[in-house]
Amino acid sequence: MDYLAHIINMVLIFTMLASSLNLILGYGGMASMCHAALFGIGGYASAILTMNLGYNFLVGMILAAVLSGFIGVLLATPSLRIHDEYLILFTTAFQMVIWGLLVSEIWITNGETGLSAIPRASVFGIQFLKPISYLLLIAVLAALFFLICWKVSHSPFGRVLRCIREDELSTRSIGKNVLRFKVLTFMVGGAIAGGAGSILAHYNAYINPVSFNLDASILMIAMVVLGGSTNMFGSVVGSLLLVGIPEMLRFVPGTATLIAPLRNAIFGSLLIFFILFRPQGLIPEHVGRLRVRRTPLPKLPEEEILALLKQEDPAKSHGIGEPVIEVKGIRKSFGGIQAVNSFSMSLSPGKVTTLIGPNGCGKTTVFNLVSGFISPDEGAVYLRGKDVTNRQPHELVKLGLVRSWQDVRVFRNMSVLDNVMAAIPNQIGERLVAIFFRPRRVGREERQNTRMALAYLEFVGLAEKAYELAGELSFAEQKQLSLARLIATGGSILLFDEPASGMDVVSTKNMQKMILRLAEFGKTICVVEHNLDLVKELSDESIFMNQGEVIRKARPEELMTDPQLALVYFGG
């Protein structure tokens, strides 16, 4: 009986580890090879604090969690600058350094001998000694940690994490401060790992570095992958399998000494098997989520949709006709090639301005410069009089300036509805504190935002496909989705990068209709396009560019009858 309780306890502890890693790896898409190191830091910290300073177990656990969480923050902070491949290396290096320190700093950690005689847990005077009595304590703590992970993952915060995993650039372009999300995720994940370490230490009354080496980190990754990343229940299944099965093997005679390598052999082969044949894991991402949410969609009245779309954004108090965006003399060169040379334009509400010109003339670079993805060498961009030249994309989105992408960049593995909802600004559900301490308000806001998102989808004509995966939509539908996502940000200044490229005639006409309506609602619009039919229908003013410079600004019809421009566009 005691033995069974022991197995369950270990499964529970690893569930904590797997679910916290799931937040980082499964939801956030960040390859962390050092989860075992964070686990170990927590374990040793708690052991040392309770043994040397006489702290109580709970205090030790909390301090351990805080320490590991803090270290998680430190690890994540440079992560934005580090490319994906390097993150694996970075976290591996950290894992090895920590493990090495655990082994070598004998004066604190007792090296490979490990720390023993760690005081057993005692909570409010109740001493926990045998595995079966621990079962209740660990189960409660595991449930608590699991709940934290579950709540975070199923909140708007978790939704943004998934966006980051899908397409980080796109996530930045809908106004999310990606760094903040990454850091907070590592903090929560690390803290729970540290807490789990403390629990292990006090449960076994003994820890040594073997439990916290690279293999252990890999084991945790295997649990997440096998169970099904981005499904919290999957982490439970993963840890059940990878802890439970090897333990069961103890009953097979003759394998006693082989438990460790056998377990590793099993999880190694399971890992390969699953990546090959079932990469989504045992429990795929969408089970439990889409089923529950398939409630019938409310049909929103036309007035409500229009009211939402005409909503002024708070900072706007502008006269119609006055320019909202002024670009003055921006220049940019890449390695000796002048991509943009002294480009200026102004954009006003209610007007559609188009940027046309031959391939390679710098149109997309201008967009990248204006929307904050690259910084100009010279010149400035003013938004309602404020200099925003070197602002980050997500800051510009908050000020109302958003852009779409030529290659669409929808979040393919998320539902159409989620794609749009993610873009809605000012969600308190993206704050961790609110998720835990104001759940009612978060819930209310979610419902409101769902209505808003549906309204936007109705506007672009995708409302019936709300629950479909964005990746399953046709190319034209994905473009419509990206339009809905753009509007959802509440931006009043919309930059469209080749909205009709790759679309057939009917879809192009639809796109045209929607853009014109948005202009009617008072939005400021700039469009880069090659489809000259569309350009003529859309814009009042067209800017013709060549080799990074503005050649002429005029009505499209005038530009297209200009023989000089024909020469440039079609060649001599």
């Binding site: 580090i82 293999d215 052999a265 090959l276």
Partner: protein
């Protein structure tokens, strides 16, 4: 101190060798071949078994070790990476399958051979010592350094002069265009894995005949290989070799100021700090 420098050169040469072996595979196939460590370990056991157990002559063991290494690397590419790539699970998928393979392989070795280190028991030419004042090294050490740099030079010649080498460099430089000129990329990948694994087997031979074969020995070397590759620059073979040499020197010379047990941590700490300071790598990241 001089002895440490010599040790640094010996280890550095080994790291240069394994670094280039991994870097070649990564730059050409863009596969994070974590399981390269398994190649090292299997080659080691191949040598120990054939020479120490079956008492085959040393040079036969040498050949056997290389053969085992090549078979190991190519099988992993054929059986694991190629199918995973076809399913386009992305870099993460390949990396996870690589990890799974490494863990599975090493565990199987541990089960069959037990964790007891296996040594060659018989002293032979490899143990011939050389002693000059305070400097001491063995024949095996000398051979390692000579062979390592020798084979790296041969590799460079092969890559630059031969048709197959040119094929590999073409795939490395522009994989889409390679298809457009009629290069079968999958075949080029296999050749790359064969060469990289052979180099790894080479390093493994010289390490094993002096020490022992243990189930997890490969891990340390593949980690060193990663670090050397990213420090030296993906695609820059001589950069990687130099980085490996530098790592060996740092690792050993650090013993002057740091206590012995820090030896293995030093390089990782260096890598960690390095990535913090210069995330693009030593000689600039390759743009793909």
């Amino acid at each position: 101190m001089l002895q440490l420098a010599v040790a640094g050169i010996i280890w550095g040469s080994l790291y240069a060798l394994v670094g280039v072996s991994w870097g070649l595979i990564y730059s050409t196939t863009r596969t994070f071949h974590f399981a390269h460590g398994l190649t090292f370990t299997l080659a080691a056991y191949g040598v120990i078994l054939s020479h120490g157990f079956f008492h085959l002559p040393l040079f036969v063991s040498f050949g056997l070790g290389l053969l085992v290494a090549v078979l190991c690397g190519c099988s992993i590419e054929f059986l694991v990476y190629r199918p995973v790539r076809r399913r386009s699970s992305g870099q993460l998928g390949i990396f996870l399958s690589a990890m799974g393979t490494l863990v599975l392989g090493e565990s199987l070795i541990q089960i069959f051979f037990t964790p007891t280190p296996r040594t060659l028991q018989i002293p032979d030419i490899s143990d011939i010592p050389f002693s000059y004042g305070t400097i001491f090294f063995t024949m095996a050490d000398l051979l390692l350094v000579l062979v390592a740099w020798g084979i790296l030079s041969v590799l460079e010649l092969y890559l630059s002069k031969s048709k197959a080498g040119r094929e590999i460099r073409a795939v490395r430089s522009n994989p889409e265009l390679a298809t457009s000129v009629g290069i079968r990329t999958e075949k080029a990948f296999l050749i790359t894995f064969a060469i990289g694994s052979m180099l790894m087997g080479l390093g493994s031979f010289f390490v094993t005949i002096q020490s022992a074969a243990t189930p997890h020995m490969g891990l340390h070397y593949v980690l060193m290989a990663f670090i050397a590759t990213f420090l030296g620059g993906v695609g820059k073979d001589w950069g990687i070799a130099l980085a490996g040499l530098a790592m060996g020197l740092v690792e050993n010379l650090s013993l002057v100021i740091l206590p012995a047990h820090y030896k293995y941590i030093v390089v990782f700490a260096l890598m960690f700090g390095f990535l913090l300071m210069k995330p693009e790598g030593l000689l600039g990241a390759r743009n793909r």
